[in-house]
């Protein structure tokens, strides 16, 4: 075990990026890490807002065209190894915003997240349940810990 993965096993930093969802997923995720009921901090999962500190990137929302570039920049700024968790129906397949047009492509939405940056774990739900977010982040952890 390298020093990095040793330290990572003891503190996982999660960064949350909003890319144009409705705020529902975002609050549930903040809620699940901060609020005393779910309290992910007791499992050594911390919320950070600095990409250079982050290990896991949680993305919510369907990625609007304006948000595409900032999202890529943030992804680039996170040090290797990294994992991306897409949370919510919007992040998985564009949600109602992308698909209700049917065949006509939406002019506002560049997503889903998968088409912009590589995704390691997907958490379904509209909005996601905090329990599911936790299991999503946990599922992405082996990627980080086993990396050289």
């Amino acid at each position: 075990m390298s020093l990095k993965s040793y330290s990572r096993a003891r503190a996982v930093h999660v960064m949350l990026v909003y890319t144009g969802g409705c705020n529902g997923c975002d609050i549930e995720i903040v809620n699940c890490i901060l609020s005393p009921k779910f309290d992910a901090e007791q499992y050594k999962v911390f919320l950070t807002w600095n990409p250079r500190e982050a290990d896991v990137l949680v993305v919510t929302g369907p990625v609007t065209k304006h948000n595409e570039k900032p999202l890529k920049e943030i992804y680039k700024a996170i040090p290797e190894p990294k994992a991306v968790v897409a949370a919510g129906a919007c992040a998985l397949m564009g949600g109602v915003y992308k698909n209700i047009h049917g065949e006509i492509p939406s002019e506002e939405i560049a997503g889903p997240v998968e088409e912009v940056i590589p995704v390691a774990a997907k958490v379904p739900g509209c909005a996601v349940r905090p329990e599911d977010v936790l299991s999503g982040v946990v599922a992405a952890l082996p990627l980080l810990l086993n990396a050289k």
Partner: protein, 382 residues
């Protein structure tokens, strides 16, 4: 170049040079949602501020264009994840007004209960977020803890922690019927919330550190608030007793006070919300006590074409506006205006004259929700 200068000259007659500009966003640690703030700073004092939104625009109104009315209504829920019930409520009210549908009393009561539960969770979220920005994590945790009770109640009634909207055209969803067990649960929840909120409020106002940090910061005067068309608790914090709930028909049976504070600073804003929590608890208790018997949906109505119908309601953050017309059972010309939209002016104004470290606080005091605010607008000077 020349054109640029012209535009600038038109804007400000006296040219001022401000040395430093601090820009944050689109994604910034302190601001949870994507928006952009530019602060113009001189000697660490904010001289001017500018908030730009637009990165979140998803074009909901355009998606709603031409959808069947029922479908369009449930889509409005997705405008905002905090006040989803209010959006669907107002959207349904537009259709009901246009088609002349009568809503059973029991359904109105359930709608009010849902609306007030939503106000509770939104205000708790606001207070928790505000305290986090203040740097007081313990309060923030406590508030999240109280909020959890409300979220569980919402899940029990609506079936989901977020996106629990109850109204449908002519009443509420059958799932949201309140049986005696649910009523009992809500009553217990309200007792818990009230007790904890009183404890919090006592502790909060008696904390000298917090009080000295928030008194006199981010002041919006009454005149400015009216000029900038602030709405909701932000306006009430400046001493204007304007609450659309007093005009809404479904709130007629209930007895509640419109809370106001005088100063328009962060303290007043926080206290207005704290006190409104108790009013909401009061309304929910009254509604549960005299919940009328009867059906919860009126299904005897027919679709027809309507002209453009407008509807305003009071939601946790202020005044929400929806309008559309119905053509062959489909929605046309949809317009939604969320309360944060009209509060943006107040947010910018509140930053001015404060120390730069207080600017974020001054923005947060107006309870911004930018994800729902991103829509195309045109401001007309009157």
């Amino acid at each position: 170049m020349n054109d640029d200068n012209k535009i600038n000259n038109n804007k400000s007659t006296k040219e001022t040079i401000i040395e430093t500009e601090v820009a944050m966003g689109v994604v910034h640690p302190a601001a949870l949602e994507p928006y952009r703030v530019r602060l113009f700073v001189e000697d660490e004092i904010v001289k001017d501020a500018e908030i730009t939104i637009g990165v979140n625009h998803r074009g909901i109104e355009r998606i709603m264009e031409g959808l069947p009315v029922e479908k369009a209504n449930s889509l409005t829920e997705k405008v905002c994840g905090i006040c989803s019930n209010s959006h669907i409520w107002n959207s349904v009210m537009v259709a009901e007004k246009g088609l002349g549908i009568e809503v059973p009393d029991r359904a109105q009561y359930i709608r009010v209960i849902m609306g007030e539960l939503e106000r509770l969770h939104s205000h708790f979220l606001y207070l928790a977020h505000g305290n986090e920005v203040l740097g007081h994590e313990t309060f923030s945790m406590r508030l999240f803890y109280i909020r959890e009770t409300v979220m569980e109640l919402l899940r029990m009634i609506g079936g989901n922690r977020v996106q629990y909207g109850a109204p449908i055209i002519g009443g509420v969803r059958p799932r949201c019927e309140l049986n005696s067990k649910r009523i009992q649960k809500i009553k217990e929840g309200m007792d818990f919330v009230e007790e904890k909120a009183i404890n919090f409020a006592d502790r909060f106002v008696s904390d000298p550190m917090i009080m000295s940090r928030i008194t006199g910061v981010g002041v919006i005067s009454r005149k400015d608030a009216l000029r900038l068309a602030a709405s909701g608790p932000t306006l009430r914090a400046t001493g204007v007793a304007r609450d659309l709930r007093t005009d809404m028909e479904c709130y007629d049976p209930f007895d509640f006070d419109v809370i106001t504070q005088d100063d328009g600073d962060v303290k007043s804003n926080l206290l207005v919300r704290v006190l409104e929590i108790f009013e909401s608890v009061k309304i929910i208790r009254q509604a549960l006590k005299d919940l009328p018997e009867g059906r919860i949906t009126n299904r005897s109505w027919e679709m027809a074409d309507t002209p453009i119908i407008k509807s305003y309601i009071e939601v946790p953050r202020g005044t929400l506006y929806h309008s559309y017309r119905i053509e062959e059972g489909r929605t046309r010309n949809v317009i939604i205006r969320t309360p944060s939209m009209s509060n943006i002016g107040a947010m910018e104004h509140a930053c001015i004259g404060n120390h730069i470290t207080d600017a974020q606080l001054a923005i947060v005091q107006c309870d911004p929700c930018f994800t729902c605010t991103d829509r195309a607008i045109k401001i007309i000077e009157l």
